[in-house]
Amino acid sequence: PSLPDGWSAEKDFKPIDHLSAPISRAIEPVGPHFLAHARRKRHKRTFSEDERI
């Protein structure tokens, strides 16, 4: 959709609302993607930090 007239925001980005509260669930500790997730979590890394290594 095209930008409505007169729309403006700081740096062209306008946060409006927050994400809804999440549900806590347990991931199954299985599979390569989980192990990668666990490794990130243990070392408190983000995706991009993880990729750099």
Partner: protein, 589 residues
């Protein structure tokens, strides 16, 4: 998990840990390993050539038989043959259901738990029987499996990942762990059977898609139906970026392949009595019933592959031989009620997960009974066409359902066998439980649909664990300045009556009517609707027909980063939406 038992096995030499995958069932067990070079999971056949090894132990003249050989002893030696003991582990005698053991050794109470009394030693002169606890029986069985794997691999197997039902309690796991330890197997991890099956399936799909750009994991809701011998378990799993979250499970402890065997036994017995008017009912003596049951099982297996199969039992009863051919159509008619029960069990799991059958993207059939073509075709007709059913009869790339969970366990074993024990435990405990999952879908509000109405297009599916990152591209037809709206969306099921609504006089049939009237040709479809807009971003001067890439990053604290840029262009817009503060939620959990 379990305290070190101080076992004599040399599990200390850390470098040489040989790990396999074990699927340990009430009826059958399987062992699997992953090949060193290709990393493919393979199921190991034991020395009898069986890949599905019956979980049966039998004692004849003091000698121990296992697997198929032991199973054959149910006929001649029922009281010294032990079957169906997996579910007795870690339970009190009052909690167990002894009915699957009716034809073999009956469970007795041993120190509050279950056990069996069998003649397992050679001292013929002193016919004193031994009382074995169920953990001892399990140890002996696992020792056999370990031996078969060791012989095959030529290396002493010391560790394993073992699959268990999704509702296995901690006591049961502890008991199984202790029994395995005594058999010289270090249990690295217990994984739920449905998840193991899914892992094996995804690993295969991954290899198949290798090279192509689509090797990235799809986000999908998978229903894993594990139809076993004496019980059936269903799990609804959200598969998100290759990570699995179980949304709901349902179980039936009486439904399984043995229910189908019973149908065949009934049918065969009636036919036998028709032919031999004066003969005794073969269901009334234990030995002839056992013969018939064993044969019924192989007839059933043959009917999963071919159009017809025949019973042939020598000297069934009163010295009379028995021959009978059954075709698949008749078998399916006779078993119809039981087949419907499988469908109902699957349906109940979908309801428990608060989902609609339209939400199920894939159904993965696992367990021996899943070879039955009719079960798959029933599910295919019950679920929408978009649902993919993975079973040998509906998908050419399906893995043998009997092997799925053992393979999954083998894959997991190869992934974690290098890890230290503490490392595994650390990863499986704290980390898992504390992951928040998105309640709603996150997506973009896009123009599209009829009459240029705005639509919601899903970027991140609901039930996705955070942190998560997803990227999408959209094409801007006209170019110019565009607004990108990021929003949360919800899914609803829209029911629209199809053309043929003529039979009912009432034209204004509401939802209530639809439910009472069973099948009034209705079209149900899944519709996404925007619930609230999270952020807007403006992108100026996009080329005509240019592409915009939108990346959404949700962090573990639920703050969201959005990056939009034109493909090939420079600059772009980047913005952060902070997470809602705890006060706003009301509940600090």
């Amino acid at each position: 998990m379990s305290a070190e038992q101080g076992s004599p096995e040399p599990t200390q030499d850390q470098p040489e840990r040989v790990a396999i995958g074990i699927s340990f069932g009430n009826s059958n067990s399987s062992i699997a390993y992953t090949t060193a070079i290709e990393g493919k999971a393979e199921v190991i056949a034991n020395e009898e050539g069986d890949r599905q090894i019956p979980s049966t132990l039998s004692y004849v003249n003091g000698e121990e038989f296992s697997g198929t050989q032991a199973k054959a002893q149910i006929v001649r030696n029922p009281r010294d043959t032990i079957t169906s003991f997996r579910d007795f582990l870690g339970k009190t005698f009052e909690q167990i259901d002894p009915s699957p053991c009716h034809a073999s050794a009956h469970p007795v109470s041993v120190n509050g738990g279950a056990g069996f009394v069998v003649q397992d030693h050679t001292e013929v002169k002193q016919p004193e029987k031994s009382t074995l606890s169920v953990s001892e029986v399990t140890t002996r069985h696992l020792r056999r499996l370990k031996q078969s794997a060791t012989d095959y691999l030529g290396k002493n197997v010391t560790a394993a990942v073992v699959t268990v039902p999704s509702d296995f309690s901690d006591e049961q796991k502890t008991a199984l762990s202790a029994s395995a330890q005594k058999a010289g197997i270090e249990v690295l991890q217990f994984i739920p059977e449905p998840i193991a099956a899914l892992l094996a399936h995804d690993a295969k799909a991954q290899i198949a898609a290798e090279g192509g750009p689509a090797s990235e994991h799809q986000d999908k809701i998978v229903l894993v139906a594990d139809f076993g011998g004496t019980r059936s378990d269903v799990a609804v799993v959200a598969s998100r970026g290759g990570m699995y979250t179980t949304l709901a499970t349902s179980h039936d402890y009486r439904l399984g392949g043995s229910s189908l065997d019973k149908v065949l036994v009934e049918y065969a017995a009636k036919e036998f009595l028709k032919k031999h008017k004066t003969a005794k009912d073969p269901r009334e003596t234990e030995r002839s019933l056992s013969k018939l049951t064993l044969d019924a099982e192989s007839v059933k297996k043959a009917l999963s592959i071919g159009g017809s199969a025949s019973f042939s039992v020598e000297s069934l009863i009163d010295g009379l031989d028995f021959n009978l051919t059954v075709n698949r159509t008749r078998y399916e008619l006779l078993s119809n009620k039981i087949f419907m029960a499988f469908t109902r069990l699957v349906e109940s799991a979908v309801q428990k997960a608060d989902l609609d059958i339209l939400d199920i993207d894939t159904i993965l059939l696992s367990g021996g009974t899943s070879h039955t073509p009719k079960i798959a075709s029933n599910l295919q007709s019950h679920f929408p066409e978009s649902t993919i059913i993975i079973s040998p009869s509906t998908s050419s790339s399906a893995i043998n359902p009997s092997e799925l969970s053992a393979r999954g366990a083998a894959i997991q074993a190869s992934l974690i066998s290098e890890f230290e024990k503490e490392q595994i435990e650390e990863s499986t405990e704290a980390v898992v439980t504390v992951t928040p999952h998105l309640h709603n879908a996150i997506g973009l509000v896009v123009a599209g649909g009829a009459a240029g109405k705005e639509e919601f297009s899903v970027l991140v599916e609901p039930e996705t664990p955070v942190p998560v990152r997803r990227t999408a591209q959209l094409t801007v037809k006209d170019g110019g300045d565009v607004i990108i709206k990021l929003a949360e969306g919800g899914r609803s099921i829209v029911v629209s009556a199809a053309e043929k609504a003529t039979t009912n006089g009432a034209a204004d049939s509401d939802d209530e009517d639809d439910d009472s009237d069973d099948e009034p040709e209705e079209n149900r479809s899944k519709v996404w609707a925007t619930q609230k807009v999270i952020a807007e971003a403006g992108l100026r001067g996009v080329k005509k027909g240019g592409k915009i890439e939108v990346q959404v990053n949700v962090a573990a604290d639920l703050s969201l980063t959005m990056v939009c840029r034109e493909v090939g262009g420079k600059g772009g817009v980047r913005g952060v939406v902070q997470a809602a503060r705890v006060e706003l939620n009301g509940n600090a959990a």
